[in-house]
C-alpha cells in the first residue's frame, strides 16, 4: 500500500507525520498542492498512491482536490463525504442534531433584519460565526443590540458566505473548552484550551493555552458519537464545551491540528495516524 500526504504549507503536524512514517520505515509521498496541474481525463494519478492523507490548509483547495482524487479511485482521509460536512459549521450542526449529539442552540438567518430577530430570540450574548472558517476568524460575540446591528451591517459588505448568519447561544462555560482528537472512532487524546487573557475565544491559534484533559467515559462516548454523526471512521478534532447540563459539541474539525495536544498529553498522534492509515484496506 502506498501513502501520500497532500499539503499546502508544512506545519508542525505535517512534518511530524512525515517523521513518524519515516521512523516506521514507511515511504509517504509528500505532495504540495500548489505544484499540481491535473488533466481530469488522465486515467491514473500514480504519485498519490493508494491512500492520500489530505492536510491542505486551504479548505477550498482541499475539498476540490479530494473530489478529483476520489474520482480516480484514490482513497482520501478524510473522504469528501466527511470533509464536505465538517468544512461547514451549519452542515456540521445539522449532522450533530440529526444524531442526537448535544450541541449549542443555533439559528440561521439570511438578512440582517431576520438575524437581529433571531439574536433577540436567542438572548444576548450571542455568537455569530461564519459557516466556513477556522481559528476563530470573524467569530463575534454580540453583547447587545448596538453591537449586533453594527456587526451585521459590516457583514453585509462582505463576501456572500458571510451574509449567511449562523447564530449560536453563548454557552455558560468556564474560560476553556475541550479539544478531543479522534482517530477512526476512538478518542486518543484531549486537552483543555484556556482562553488567552482578555479574550473569550479559546483557539490555540489565538493564544489559548493547552492543558491536559482527562479522558472520561462521557468524553469518549460523546466524541465517538460526534465523529460518527459527521460520517465516522476518519481523523477528527472534536471541540466541546462544559455546561451546567453536561458536555456539548460545537464543532468537529476535519484536518485537525495537534501540535499542542502531543506535548501536553504525551500521546504520539502522528504515529497513531500512520498506523490508522495502514489499517485502511486498499
Amino acid at each position: 500500500m502506498k501513502l501520500s500526504l497532500v499539503y499546502e504549507v508544512v506545519r508542525w503536524e505535517e512534518k511530524a507525520i512525515h517523521a513518524a512514517a519515516k521512523k516506521k520505515g514507511i515511504d509517504i509521498q509528500m505532495i504540495n498542492i500548489d505544484t499540481l496541474s491535473i488533466d481530469l481525463e488522465q486515467g491514473k494519478l500514480a504519485q498519490f498512491g493508494d491512500i492520500a492523507l489530505q492536510r491542505c490548509l486551504s479548505y477550498f483547495k482541499s475539498i476540490h482536490l479530494t473530489a478529483v482524487l476520489e474520482s480516480k479511485g484514490i482513497q482520501v482521509v478524510n473522504p469528501f463525504r466527511i470533509a464536505s460536512i465538517t468544512g461547514n459549521k451549519l452542515y456540521g450542526t445539522l449532522a450533530l442534531l440529526k444524531a442526537g449529539v448535544p450541541t449549542p442552540k443555533t439559528m440561521i438567518s439570511f438578512t440582517p433584519e431576520t438575524a437581529l430577530s433571531a439574536i433577540e430570540d436567542l438572548g444576548y450574548p450571542v455568537v455569530l460565526k461564519p459557516t466556513m472558517g477556522s481559528w476563530g476568524r470573524l467569530v463575534a460575540s454580540l453583547s447587545d443590540r448596538d453591537a449586533a446591528s453594527s456587526v451585521l451591517e459590516d457583514r453585509e459588505q462582505m463576501f456572500p458566505i458571510y451574509r449567511v448568519y449562523y447564530l449560536q447561544e453563548r454557552v455558560n462555560r468556564p474560560p476553556r473548552d475541550i479539544r478531543g482528537i479522534v482517530i477512526g472512532d476512538q478518542l486518543v487524546a484531549a486537552i483543555y484550551r484556556l482562553s488567552a487573557p482578555n479574550d473569550w475565544k479559546t483557539n490555540t491559534a489565538r493564544g489559548g493555552k493547552p492543558q491536559l484533559c482527562p479522558i472520561t467515559k462521557e468524553l469518549e462516548d460523546i466524541c465517538a458519537k460526534a465523529a460518527k454523526a459527521v460520517g465516522g471512521d476518519g481523523l477528527f478534532g472534536v471541540d466541546l464545551m462544559e455546561t451546567p447540563n453536561g458536555l456539548v459539541v460545537h464543532e468537529v474539525n476535519n484536518t485537525t491540528e495537534f501540535k499542542n495536544t502531543v506535548p501536553t498529553t504525551g500521546v504520539d498522534i502522528p504515529s497513531l495516524i500512520i498506523e490508522y492509515l495502514q489499517t485502511q484496506k486498499k
Binding site: 504549507v9 508544512v10 505535517e14 504540495n32 486551504s58 479548505y59 472558517g133 474539525n253
Partner: protein, 55 residues
C-alpha cells in the same frame, strides 16, 4: 540563507521539507521553503493567511 528584507540569517533545518515555513532570526520575516530546478533549497516570502485556511 540570507533574509530578503534585512539580510539577517535564516536558519534552514537539516530535515527541512518543501512548503515548510522558516523565519529570519533578526526581523522575524517568514519564508516558505521551495526547491529550484537544480533541487537546491531556496526561500520565498511566506503566503498570507487565507480566509479559508484552518482545520
Amino acid at each position: 540563507m540570507k533574509c530578503l528584507e534585512c539580510d539577517g540569517d535564516v536558519k534552514i533545518p537539516e530535515d527541512v521539507l518543501d512548503g515548510e515555513i522558516v523565519s529570519c532570526i533578526d526581523c522575524g520575516t517568514s519564508y516558505e521553503i521551495f526547491r529550484d530546478k537544480s533541487g537546491s533549497v531556496q526561500i520565498k516570502p511566506a503566503k498570507v493567511e487565507g480566509e479559508d485556511w484552518g482545520e
